[in-house]
């Protein structure tokens, strides 16, 4: 069979053996992946399929815009809150509502705590088993693990041989029971696992430590938002009123005791990230630095919208602490401006997505987006409509649309943000990157890889942990200066709103650039559109045949055993996919949808 070259420079060859992974596990939501592997076990064609769709935007149509945060928050319970924050920003943008400085600090602390939590849980509980073999940990000498631990993180208290022996015994008892739970049917004899037993034992121990600690990180969100998962937000500020020393402060949402609790969590979080997460990344990275597959689009096209406004209500790149911009064709010397309102910049395509457009040769800006589901499979499908054995990627093949920035398929996420920050010479990011490259003794190119993606996520968790402290100090300083306000309710009443307005809200979700576009008419939602990180990363082919970031990242990777998809999982996981996010997308044309044929 001939080789097909994509406009974005990948040679797709479908002649080799087809390997199907469905479900791709340890992700949020549902996803399928198919690859063709040549006779030398290299991946020469990759196809990623979003396998769920919920249609949240049609559900939003006609509702109160002040409620939209709660609906969109339920797009995802892993990146819980980031959609809610994006939503309240979109409504505030549409209505011209300014929020108090304290609300900005509290929102930033909540958003940063999500970044940290999400990155930590992703690494240890969704991603680690692609690098770490828990069964091999049984062979470790606990004394050797203790020495390794003390060498990589001298400040971490839990490092004695006895401690690791206890963990190992517990693990041994678990394995000997024959009931392996989450480790069942793993790929534990696969040579793709490269860690020595003592490093495996250290990492498995931290899998458990991180599982215990992650719930502490979210305490800040329970204090400010009342619960977690899915804390509460509001248009115009935050709902948690502050009462430091007034009457009935003890029953107020935020008082001195609550602030002390948040403050102590922030300190402990920073400690955990710096004494466990970062050293583990370096320790594991040293054994895998020869495995630098998975770069995909990272070395050519990356995108970030920016987030974490220093001062409230200013969303200009200069005021955003996370990097903003687009890099294309691998030219790090030029970072392009990104304008979410420009109809020429962000467009979504559907020739390979299970939706229909009147003219599928064209893309649509989210303001004008249409989404009409059309589930149909191509002529080369193997199987049937309800039993897909092999998908036909020449036709429609995913519940994810294909968003493009000026026609380019883009990668988003921590690595994209760090590449842009690096290209801009932003010291906070270049310092972290250079320190990591030197600790691993690898060149800059190593960044454009699966390992680079995984490392960037850890660096960002560390960065975010420091910034939490910055905004906590800022919150205290503002209160000290006599300003305790947390909400601007001047325009909370819909009677005060103009008849017709539209707005855009954006954040950097843990997984990458996220934006919501809203149109409000007669105080109700007329149209709501989200373009989310995994829509970018997990996108199928577009009208011109460009492959998306997941697909690109798998290309030309060597797999040790085609029937055991460790390498595929490792690279796909490095994006931290969130399929419930990516596949909910729904256009303004909701009427047809309500009439979807019921069989």
């Amino acid at each position: 069979m001939s080789i097909l070259q994509t406009p974005n420079g990948f040679n797709l060859d479908t002649s080799g053996k087809r390997v199907v992974v469905d479900p791709v596990t340890r992700i949020e939501g549902h996803m399928r992946c198919e690859v063709n592997v040549d006779e030398d076990n290299y991946i020469r064609n990759a196809v990623s399929t979003g396998t769920m769709w919920r249609g949240l935007e049609v559900i939003l149509k006609g509702r109160d815009p002040r409620d939209a945060w709660a609906f969109t928050q339920r797009i995802c319970g892993v990146c819980t809150g980031t959609h809610a924050l994006t939503s309240v920003r979109a409504v505030e943008d549409a209505l011209g509502i300014e929020i108090p400085e304290n609300a900005n600090s509290i929102r930033n602390i909540m958003q940063l705590s999500l970044q940290i939590h999400d990155h930590l849980v992703h690494f240890y509980h969704l991603h680690a088993l692609d690098w770490v073999n828990p069964i091999n940990a049984l062979k470790a000498d606990p004394k050797a693990t203790s020495e390794l631990q003390q060498a990589v993180a001298p400040k971490h208290a839990k490092s004695s041989p006895g401690y690791f022996r206890d963990i190992q015994n517990r693990l041994k008892k678990f394995v000997e029971s024959g009931q392996l739970g989450p480790f069942k049917n793993g790929y534990w004899t696969n040579p793709a696992y490269l860690l020595p037993p003592e490093a495996d034992l250290m990492a498995v121990t931290h899998y458990l430590e991180a599982l215990d600690f992650q719930k502490e990180i979210m305490i800040t969100r329970t204090i400010f938002g009342g619960k977690d998962t899915h804390p509460n937000w509001m248009v115009g500020g935050v709902p948690c009123a502050i009462n430091i020393d007034g009457e009935m402060a003890a029953g107020a949402p935020i008082n001195m005791e609550r602030l002390n609790l948040v403050s102590s969590i922030i300190n402990r979080t920073l400690e955990f990230i710096e004494n466990v997460y970062i050293p583990d990344i370096i320790a594991i990275g040293k054994f895998y630095k020869g495995w630098l597959y998975g770069g995909g689009l990272a070395s050519q096209s990356v995108l970030a919208y920016g987030d974490i406004p220093d001062r409230a209500n200013d969303y200009s790149p200069e005021n955003l602490m996370m990097p903003v911009g687009a890099i294309i064709n691998g030219n790090l010397k030029e970072v392009h401006e990104v304008d979410l309102r420009d109809p020429e910049q962000i467009q979504e395509f559907v020739p390979h997505s299970w939706y229909s457009y009147p003219d599928e040769a064209k893309g649509l800006h989210p303001w004008d987006g249409i989404t009409e589901p059309r589930y149909e499979l191509g002529p080369n499908l193997v199987g049937s409509k309800t039993n897909i054995l092999q998908i036909d990627e020449q036709a429609k093949y995913s519940w994810i649309k294909a968003p493009r920035w000026r026609g380019h398929a883009m990668e988003v996420g921590p690595l994209a943000r760090y590449i842009i920050g690096y290209a801009q010479g932003h010291e906070e990011f270049t310092d972290q990157i250079e320190r990591t490259l030197s600790a691993l003794d690898v060149p800059l190119n190593a960044l454009f890889s699966t390992l680079g993606r995984t490392a960037a996520r850890a660096l960002e968790a560390q960065w975010a942990a420091h910034k939490q402290r910055y905004f906590m100090d800022k919150l205290i300083a503002t209160i000290k200066n006599g300003d305790s306000s947390t909400a601007n309710v001047a325009q909370f009443d819909p009677k005060t709103w103009p008849t017709e307005v539209k707005g855009v809200g954006f954040t950097e979700a843990p997984r990458g650039a996220l934006a919501h576009w809203i149109k409000i008419k007669d105080t109700k939602i007329e149209n709501y559109q989200c373009v989310v990180p995994t829509t970018w990363n997990g996108s199928p082919r577009d009208n011109e045949g460009n492959i998306g970031a997941f697909e690109a990242s798998l290309m030309n990777t060597k797999v040790e055993r085609a029937e055991e998809p460790v390498e595929i999982l490792r690279t796909i996981h490095s994006f931290d996919p969130c399929l419930a996010c990516s596949t909910h997308v729904m256009g303004p044309d909701g009427k047809e949808l309500a009439e979807v044929k019921v069989r």
Binding site: V20, D22, P23, V24, R26, G29, R32, T51, M52, W53, R54, I59, F71, R74, I75, G77, T80, V121, L129, I135, N136, V175, S177, G178, Q179, L180, G181, P182, K184, N185, Y187, W188, T189, L208, L211, D212, I219, T222, I223, G226, K227, D228, T229, H230, N232, A241, I242, M248, A252, P253, P373, K385, T386, N387, A487, V489, M586, A594, V598, R599
Partner: protein, 359 residues
């Protein structure tokens, strides 16, 4: 739940010889020496943790995220020492056909002896293909796994009621577990909430393991121990409701004093859940304590019951410092009428009686 793995296998007609072979294969598959096989055999002959298949349909994974935040017991201890979480596609190591094989193995080997936990729900439109697992509709996987289950746990509001994707107009025809056509009739426990409280989730599991029986359920299938009271009944701001002291707007004087959030939309008076008693993150807080009205996330169809900032009902003559009994009684009566499935009269009566005890 008391049968050992070995007994189950023997009952299925598997010989001891095959059983020992299974143990050696397990050891070999893990890359462990032959010395491990007898240890595995011994463990399987003496005790076992109950297998759990935790399936995910259309959902957002907030239930799993909540579960791992459990402070007592820790999620780690539930997973390592209490249950055998054999299938949960959010955390399991295996993927693809190696993952799907586990469901078949558990369904066949543990007939009537495993728990099915469901997060999310199946869409029925488009032949179920709005949610695809292993190339097939999720609803098929759900029905297959339910066939031999001992009991089904419907985690969260998606599995219990339908939740956000089932809100009007429910484009995919997302359907709660107990309403799935053709689903095997099994004892079914609803643990609603978006998400449910972590410690409520782990308590439901540990209750079943500790007492070897299902928790007592109310008429809607929820454990009575956590869902028999409204948030309003035990809310620490209840005295302000009774005294007619309300937050009129966010961040006003009342908001800073912790007054009642009823007028800014609180759904606590119509919501059955344990938020005001068990609270969240190890008992730390709950939405009302953090200043936001309850949005009623554990109630059936809460997305379609009016805006989150709209008052439950406009009660005329709701004067400041009016007679406390009168206000409490009036509100409870209105609430009772709204919660149709419940015995309204007794709920109101109980609420009145308990009102006195709890203040």
């Amino acid at each position: 739940m008391t049968e050992t793995f070995y007994e189950v296998m023997r009952r299925q007609g598997i010989t001891r010889r095959s059983f020992l072979k299974y143990c050696s294969l397990t050891a070999a598959a893990l890359g462990l020496g032959p010395g491990f096989a007898p240890k595995i055999a011994e463990a399987m002959e003496t005790k076992q943790r109950i297998p759990v298949l935790w399936l995910h349909g259309l959902e957002c994974t907030c239930c799993s995220e909540s579960f791992i935040r459990s402070a007592h017991p820790l999620a780690k201890d539930v997973i390592l020492s209490m249950i055998s979480l054999d299938y949960d596609d959010t955390i399991m190591a295996a993927a693809g056909h190696q993952a799907e094989a586990i469901i078949e193995e558990v369904v066949e080997n543990y007939k009537g002896n495993y728990l099915l936990a469901v997060e999310g729900n199946p869409p029925l439109n488009e032949d179920g293909m709005y949610c695809i697992i292993g190339g097939k509709p999720f609803v098929d996987q759900l029905k297959y796994a339910a066939e031999n289950a001992k009991a089904i746990i419907s985690w969260g509001s998606c599995a219990s009621w339908g939740c956000v994707q089932a809100a009007r107009p429910n484009p995919t025809r997302a359907t709660p577990v107990h309403k799935v056509p053709g689903l095997a009739q099994k004892p079914l426990i609803k643990v609603p909430g978006c998400p449910p409280i972590a410690e409520v989730m782990t308590a439901v599991i540990t209750y079943m393991l500790t007492f070897d029986r299902l928790p007592e359920l109310d008429r809607q299938g929820r454990p009575k121990m956590f869902y028999s009271q409204r948030i309003h009944d035990k809310c620490y701001r209840r005295p302000h409701f009774d005294a007619g002291q309300f937050v009129e707007a966010f961040d006003d004087e009342g908001a800073r004093k912790g007054y009642c959030l009823y007028k800014v939309g609180c759904k606590g008076p119509t919501t059955y859940n344990a938020c005001s008693t068990v609270r969240w993150n190890g008992g730390l807080s709950f939405p009302i304590q953090a200043g936001h009205p309850c949005i009623g996330c554990s109630e059936d169809g809460f997305w379609d019951k009016g805006g989150f900032y709209e008052r439950l009902t406009d009660i005329k003559g709701f004067g400041i410092e009016a007679n406390a009994d009168q206000i409490g009684g009036t509100a409870a009566a209105v609430v009772g009428a709204a919660a149709a499935a419940h015995a309204a009269a007794s709920a109101v009566k109980r609420a009145r009686q308990k009102g006195g005890e709890n203040q």
